[in-house]
Amino acid sequence: MLMIPCPWCGERAEVEFAYGGEGGLSRPVVPGDLSDGEWADYVYFRKNPKGTHCELWHHLHGCGRYFEVVRDTVDNKVHGSAESGSDIRGVSDVKKV
């Protein structure tokens, strides 16, 4: 089982969380300006990397908050986590918990 570091509650077992998919996506401000292809890209297309992945987790059975985690999808090592929206995608300056 993964151990997920919630920035508020610390490291907790995966079963307390719900996975939220790729992190750092923001909804286009004016969807009407997008072509169908661009909209599809936002809604459906994902990076799905083999390696470092920035993703959302939801501490469903805990504090209830969403936050971002940087995890390696091959060895499952978690490199850090931070409040959602704070840019942790540059892994080096990740706040370690």
Partner: protein
Amino acid sequence: MQRYSAFSLVRHALSEHKHWRRAWRSPAPKPRYDAIIVGGGGHGLGTAYYLARHHNLKNIAVLERGWIGGGNTGRNTTIIRSNYLQEESQGLYELARKMWETLSQELNYNVMFSPRGVLNLCHDEHELKGLRRRVFANQARGVRGEFLTPREVKQFCPPMRVDCPRLPVVGASLQRNAGTARHDAVAWGYARAADRLGVDIIENCTVNGFDIRDGAVRGVRTTRGDIAAPKVALVPAGHAGVLANLAGFRLPIESRPLQALVSEPVKPCLDTVVMSGAIHGYVSQSDKGELVIGGGADSYNGYSQRGSPHVLAGSIAAVCHLFPQFRRLRMLRSWGGVVDIAPDASAILSAAPVGGIYVNCGWGTGGFKATPGSAFAFAHLVAKGEPHLKGRAFTLARFATGRLIDEHSAAAVAH
């Protein structure tokens, strides 16, 4: 190639089985092919076979990073059925299911297709409504399916408890001509038949780059050198996103761990396949006597070929609710694969945004059953550049037009 038959078995028995020849060659890669298939699972090997067989393309290579069938093809729990909800899916999965019936003869290789029936259980009123809708949708389009009451379920599958207080079985669908097959045999059978038609099967050969010029593919870079080809068909299952990334485009695919496990072998005790979407578990008994158990995919993206133990524990608990007598069995081994899940839980058979590249992926947790149909339709697409009638709805265009093929209820947990 030597044909396999009762006669050849007897003949080789007389010389103590010392003179069987290897089933396929192991050639070094040539500098150029007419078409390259990336990924030596069932779908990739099948694609090569149908390209050579029906489309008169003979100079083909299948490049496999590890050993053929070592991906999801050799890791799956082999459930074969076609009782999906949407018309498009029924067309493709039923084409495949029909092909399973004669695949052993076609390939001269026993794939051990065993139409032992597949039961899909439901445990509450809402599920019951959904399941009935699916049965009617199947019947309307010529896919075999019937609805069973709890009593009929018990008659059809006596070892199962239908009156478990926590999870009463309130009904089930049954597809009698569905069942299981031998997973490895599918890879080996297609490999042998393709090899006989001149296809080069090249193992231990990882594709790690593409030669793309003016928006069209010219070849691939591999750990065994550069290989030129005007057509490259990607059939890499969980690694679809990785290859797309190397070729400079994106896919609507997320790769997740999916696990399964088998028990110690026991005498025949279960002669059908039992699945329950609500409790995330399914079980069948292999010809070796092992109970083959699986469940839902892990929630997070992962390429580790292993998942979290609590997911497996959940599947085991579910199966033990339905079959309390299995509680005392010891488990032999568990494993995981990397499954390629699309947003609508349906496959992608499509030309890619790069000229000459085609992708076959998105089979996710349930593509073994589709192997012959997928390979057949995909070979048509690769050869002609136009989708096969049965594969037409499965292109990448659907994500922009919104014509998704939503199979979450039929595919998400059920395989």
